[in-house]
Each structure stands twice: as C-alpha cells, then as structure tokens.
Symmetry: C2
Subunit: 249 residues, 2 copies
Amino acid sequence: MHFIAETSSNGVVERNFTLGEITGVLWSPASGADGAPLVLMGHPGGLHKKAPGLVARAHYYVTTCGFTVAAIDAPGHGDRPRTPQDERWVAALLNARAAGEPLGPIITDYNISLTERAVPEWQATLDALQALPEIGTATPIGYTGMTLASAIGLPLAAVEPRITAAVFGGVFVYDALTEAARQITIPIQFLLPWDDDEIDRQSGLDLYDAFASKDKTLHANPGTHHQVPWHETETSAHFFHRHFTPATT
Amino acid sequence: MHFIAETSSNGVVERNFTLGEITGVLWSPASGADGAPLVLMGHPGGLHKKAPGLVARAHYYVTTCGFTVAAIDAPGHGDRPRTPQDERWVAALLNARAAGEPLGPIITDYNISLTERAVPEWQATLDALQALPEIGTATPIGYTGMTLASAIGLPLAAVEPRITAAVFGGVFVYDALTEAARQITIPIQFLLPWDDDEIDRQSGLDLYDAFASKDKTLHANPGTHHQVPWHETETSAHFFHRHFTPATT
C-alpha cells in the first residue's frame, strides 16, 4: 500500500493510496485514529471513490463517530481503466436505457464480472489496512454501500469474516446476490428505496427476507436509489456504533 | 387535570393524574423540564399506561433526550372500567384465539369503538397538558405507540395538528386506518414486525404506502409485534429529536 498524497481539513486526514492496480483513499480522524473502527465504503455503479455523496458520508463518519473510512475504485471506475468488455457493457447499458429496453440482463453480467474482480481487491485492501499500525487487527470492521457497492458487498460479506456489520440496499437483485444473502449472518441494515423505477420493490423485500442474520433491519424511504435521505447516514452511524461497541446492558 | 401522586427516581419525575374519567401519568426530567418536547405514548391492547415496556421507553426518552412523556389508559384498560360491550369483545377475542378462528372482525369493531372514545380523550389530555406552565403551547409534540396505540394514534394524528411527528406500527389494518393514513402528512416512522403471525405483512406494507407524508420511513425487523428490538426505541428518539429541533443545515 503506497500513500501518494495526504491532505487534512476540518479534523479529517485524507490519504490517497494505491495497492497494485487498486486506487483508494483513507479518511481518518485528525486525532484519536489509533484503533478507530474501520468502515469500508463502496460507491454506486458509474461513480467513484470520491463521489460527493460518498465523501460527505465518510466525513460524517470520521468527524461525528471517530471512524476511519476506506474507499476504493471498483474495476473500471474512477482512476482505473475499463477493459474492452467493460466498455461493451457500459455501451450496452446506455443503449438499453435510451431505447427503454430492460437493463437487468446487462447489469447482471456486468455486476457479476465486477464482483469477481472486486471481492479479492477488497480483501487485499483489508490485509494492507490491517498492516497499518493505526488500524491493526483488533479494530471492528463494517461495510457500507448501495447499488453496485451492494452487488460487490454481499458476496464480500459472505466470504469475509472480518466484516462484522454491514449496510446494503438499492441493489438490482439476481440469484448470486440472493445466495450470498442466505449465507450472511452478521447484523445488517438494508435500505429499500420505495419508489425506484429501475428496481422492483418486491425484489428488495425478498432480498431482505433472504438474509440469514437474526439482527437485520429494513429501512424503506420514499424516492429512488438516487434520493436516499441524509438521516439514513445518521442512522447507519448509530447502527455501526451499536455493533462496534460492546453492550453495556 | 388533578395530580394524585408524585415520585422521583433516577432523574425522572413521575406524576399520576386524572382528568375526568381519564387516568394518566406524566414523566418529566428532574431538571430542564420547562419547554421540553412532549411525547404522547400509547399502550398496546390489553396493557396499560404503565406496562413495563412502555415505562422503559418513557424513561429512556426522559433521561436520554430530555423529553416529557405522557401516557393515558385507553378506555377499559389499566385503571379504567370496561363497559358491558367491552367485556363481550374481550371474551369474543379470547374465544376466537382459543378456537383458532379469525380475530380480524372482532379487533376491527373493538378498536373502532375504543378509538371513537380515545381520540377526544387524548385531545382533552393535550389541552390540559398545554395548560401546565412547564409545557405550554410552544413545545413540539410527538406521538408513539404500536398495535392498539396505532389504531388510536392514526385517526388522532389525522385530526390533531398539534402532533407534528409520529411513530406507528404493528397494527391490524382496516379501512378506517388506511383512510387516516391517507390524510396524514407529518413525518412518520412506521415499524413493521416482519414475522407477525396475527397480522398480514402485506397489510403493513400497504399501510406504509398509504401515508401521505413525504418524510416516512418503514423499519422492518424480524419477529412479531411482541419482539420489537430495543434499538428501535433509540432510533425513534433520534427521529423525534430530528423533527423537534430546527434544522441547522
């Protein structure tokens, strides 16, 4: 893991890094970072590790909760090149959307391919982060991210025992995700955009139902997956805080 | 409003009161009660204003949020006598449950009758509470309660503009409740027990859908309406706090 730039403002230290082909960023509290809980934050499809909404949530987690937040670009996103096949999928998505044709089959193939590449990348990133003295192997780890970040995050959480709490939602559902949900037993907060015109509401209810977790909460809100209200960021912070902190009662 | 007993422990002042035939209780912070936000708390059917779960939530609101909480017994509950017709409904419910027969028609008739009596009682209680110097007419007011407390609370919130935020859920749905939901525009948090064997899941999803509120969040959790996790109490406190406090951003 090579740190290539560091800035600091408003109590948040931002460090860009590379790890092989992976491009990422780490946000830490300017003070009290040692042993802070770590949240892995994924970005939606078509966006990147420093999308404004993601940065706002990361800063909130750092400044309000004292968490450290790590984000990486998904393959072919942000600072990373697309493969020729990625280019074909993106073109097919744009064409299908313009023509009013179903996006599902294309999203399924593209997301499965991205996930095959991204899961080992998150695991390698986690290895490197835990090798940092300020993080180490004792700090609790969560994962959060909707849409593509959930498509990647569900299979990641299913195979990665270091992740002990996760926030998912707003994701196009295919069989591999349902299978992953059935293997997940950690506490889950699942966001369901109630009025998504691209993702069937019932598929989200069914995916929530599929999680094997005993502690799983579904949060539905009016709007599409582009319109998740800010209070869900606050609620997710309470969710992580609750699971990162040993119970006192 | 006549206060008939006062006790104080762990920072909570508890005052029992009567108002005509209404029997109630007011929990206030031992310090800082003046102008504290007011939460009206209903109890489930068959229970009463000091049911242990209700008292625990009320104490949490008082000690953690600085709210004042008021609860009253529904007609025929707690310290209040049942009418002969109430007795017949209760007997019919017990018989139907024992025989494995549908409870819906009985619950509908009983809850509609209780609501016709309870809504004006809550409004009279609110009048009397606002006449207390420590409450007054400027403090924000919320309502919370599941099952019977939602059956009463929805029609109450539909006609009572002093209530500006509410938490409902776990309620047996009939047409009058759906009609009330369609008239409600205040922020709502709606709790849906995911595995309720007495209340159809889809009816809860449909009721959430019916609220006219732009700010409405559905929270589903595994379990029945007897098993709502404690973190929903914490989340409801954040919900009220968010709506009671003028936005800073």
